[in-house]
């Protein structure tokens, strides 16, 4: 942590591509625009804990990435997909409740990730950066990953959107209508996995889920259609990134948490405005 914070005051804004703040903003907004609509479905389908589980498992993916010497983002996505498959398999047996299974997978994989990382003596991982994010240190290569992954997720979401709405409203009705429910659900889990892998670098593992949940929840009181809520949550997410970065620069606070604090503030404002509108 503490990266860039001290040097920020001395940065000269001659070449804007060198400015870490610009990179942070571009990266953060890119994430927010994708996390918003996906987060809406996460909120509607009550998958918040699932997102958290994948975020915890991301550390294990990171460890495997070091061992196998692959791009961390690929390893994280792979581990998240394995975990999604494990969840679907365990859910079918019906002997344990879903939240219990998720709890086991989340903490088991986080712990395993930490243990595996401890064995890798040649690698020194800045754990704090992965847990709480390091948005001020994103590179142009990171941004390329974010926008590539983000574009893929948005394209897939556009195709899945209608079916996901039907499944969310009533799974059996969707099945009778001929929608391949299980396949759609698994595809959607993969989308979350991609977002987790991308978001890890920016807001960190522990705050990734908040980028999915908080803007979507903040959009709910001011939305009257699913699409409106998706777009508004993307906007609220982007505003949170902007507000968080400005706040971080002004008060020298950690950037990732500042973004989440801004999003939470917007959430509270949104609910209060609705509450007052109902009273008046």
């Amino acid at each position: 942590m503490g990266m860039g914070m001290t040097t920020s005051k001395g940065t000269i804004m001659t070449d804007w591509t060198d400015d870490f703040l610009v990179r942070a903003l571009i990266a953060g907004v890119g994430l927010a625009v994708v996390a918003g609509p996906v987060g809406c479905i996460v909120v509607w389908r009550k998958m918040a804990y699932f997102g958290a589980t994948l975020a915890h498992a991301a550390l294990l993916g990171l460890a495997f990435g070091f061992i196998l010497d692959t791009a961390p983002i690929i390893a994280v996505i792979a581990v998240c997909m394995l975990l999604s498959a494990a969840l679907v398999g365990l859910e079918r047996r019906r002997t344990l409740a879903t939240d219990t299974i998720l709890g086991i997978l989340a903490h088991g994989s986080l712990a395993l990730g930490l243990v595996v990382l401890a064995f890798l003596e040649t690698v020194r991982v800045d754990l704090m950066a992965y847990l709480f994010g390091d948005i001020l240190s994103v590179s142009w290569a990171d941004i390329a990953w974010i926008y590539l992954g983000g574009a893929l997720v948005l394209a897939a979401l556009a195709v899945l959107w209608r079916d996901m709405l039907s499944i969310t409203l009533h799974e059996d009705l969707a099945r009778v209508d001929g929608i391949p429910v299980e396949r759609r659900r698994f595809l959607f889990m993969i989308l979350i996995a991609v977002i987790v892998a991308v978001a890890m670098k920016i807001v960190g593992i522990l705050l990734t889920v908040s980028m999915l949940i908080v803007p979507a929840a903040a959009a709910r009181p001011v939305s009257s259609s699913p699409e409106q809520m998706a777009i508004l949550s993307a906007v609220i997410g982007a505003l949170s990134v902007l507000g968080g970065l400005v706040g971080s620069l002004t008060w020298d606070t950690p950037a990732g948490p500042s973004i989440v604090v801004t999003a939470t503030t917007l959430f509270l404002l949104s609910y209060l405005s609705r509450f007052r509108a109902q009273k008046g």
């Binding site: 909120v43 509607w44 209608r162 709405l165 039907s166 969310t168 409203l169 009533h170 059996d172 009705l173 099945r175 009778v176 209508d177 709910r220 939305s223 009257s224 259609s225 699913p226 409106q228 809520m229």
Partner: protein, 270 residues
């Protein structure tokens, strides 16, 4: 029931034969036969936990039977109205958008939607959030949704649940109107006999196995039925029943065997 095509003459839209469904050691369905023919209203009655919903899920293809055969007519469209649909408030969606979601891709939107909305009488609530509807409104919206794909068979699971009494009779009238207008077959699942009986062509009484089946009046006098629902139900039911102009030959109509053989035989009314 004059003027209806004779049930056994019409082709079977769906037929289930020898359906068994077991969960572990528990047998929920035991050699159940059920068929629904074009244009008829069939009521599936049985106490709570008798396997009605399981049977419907098998019929719809939502659940695989342990043994037995399910056959559906080629190209059949089924409109399904599930038990009370709880709509979560976290998803903001208006009634009209909800209905439009159920249209086939590329299906002409205006025609089917307008007709279904009109038939279900929900024109006034199209702009309301789905989560704000009353029980009766919710049922009607789900019914309109089921009508969108011009179904050959409507399957309604406990349509009266969560609807007040006046709403219930309106709903049942609506269902029988729909049959008359569209000629679709209707399968109604119910644990509440009183209102259903008057409009239905055939009753199948289920308690894990088929206890008895036949015309409502016949079934209501069947010993197994009375044992299941109590003699009180039989009596109160009589109050609600229409007095038909034809009478039944009890000896000829009585079902001798309630254990899953061909119940279609022997239900000839004169």
């Amino acid at each position: 029931m004059t003027g209806m095509p004779h049930k056994t003459d019409a082709p079977a839209l769906v037929s289930l034969t020898g359906i068994c469904k077991r969960y572990g050691d528990t047998s929920v369905l035991d050699h159940v036969d059920l068929s629904v023919h074009a244009g008829e209203i069939v009521t599936l009655v049985g106490p709570n936990g008798s396997g009605k919903t399981t049977l419907v899920r098998v019929l719809l293809g939502l659940s695989e039977p342990s043994t037995g055969a399910v056959s559906r007519a080629r190209g059949i469209a089924i409109g399904y109205v599930p038990q009370v649909v709880a709509v979560d408030e976290t998803l903001p969606i208006k009634v009209e958008r909800f209905l439009a979601l159920a249209l086939r891709r590329g299906q002409d939107k205006s025609d089917a939607l307008t007709r279904a909305v009109e038939e279900a009488g929900i024109g006034r609530i199209l702009d309301r959030p789905l989560s704000s509807l009353s029980g009766g409104e919710n049922r009607r919206v789900m019914l309109a949704r089921a009508l969108l794909r011009d179904p050959d068979l409507l399957v309604l699971d406990e349509p009266a649940a969560g609807v007040d009494v006046s709403g219930q009779s309106a709903l049942y009238n609506l269902i029988s109107d729909l049959r008359a207008r569209r000629g679709c077959a209707v399968l109604v699942v119910s644990h509440d006999l009183h209102l259903v009986m008057a409009q239905t062509d055939r009753v199948v009484c289920l308690n894990h196995h088929v206890c008895c089946t036949g015309h409502p009046e016949t079934v209501s006098r069947h010993p197994e039925y009375l044992a299941l629902f109590g003699a009180d139900v039989g009596r109160s039911h009589a109050v609600y029943t229409h007095r038909h102009d034809h009478h039944h030959d009890l000896a000829g109509e009585a079902i001798h065997d309630g254990h899953g053989h061909d119940h279609e035989q022997g239900h000839h009314h004169d």
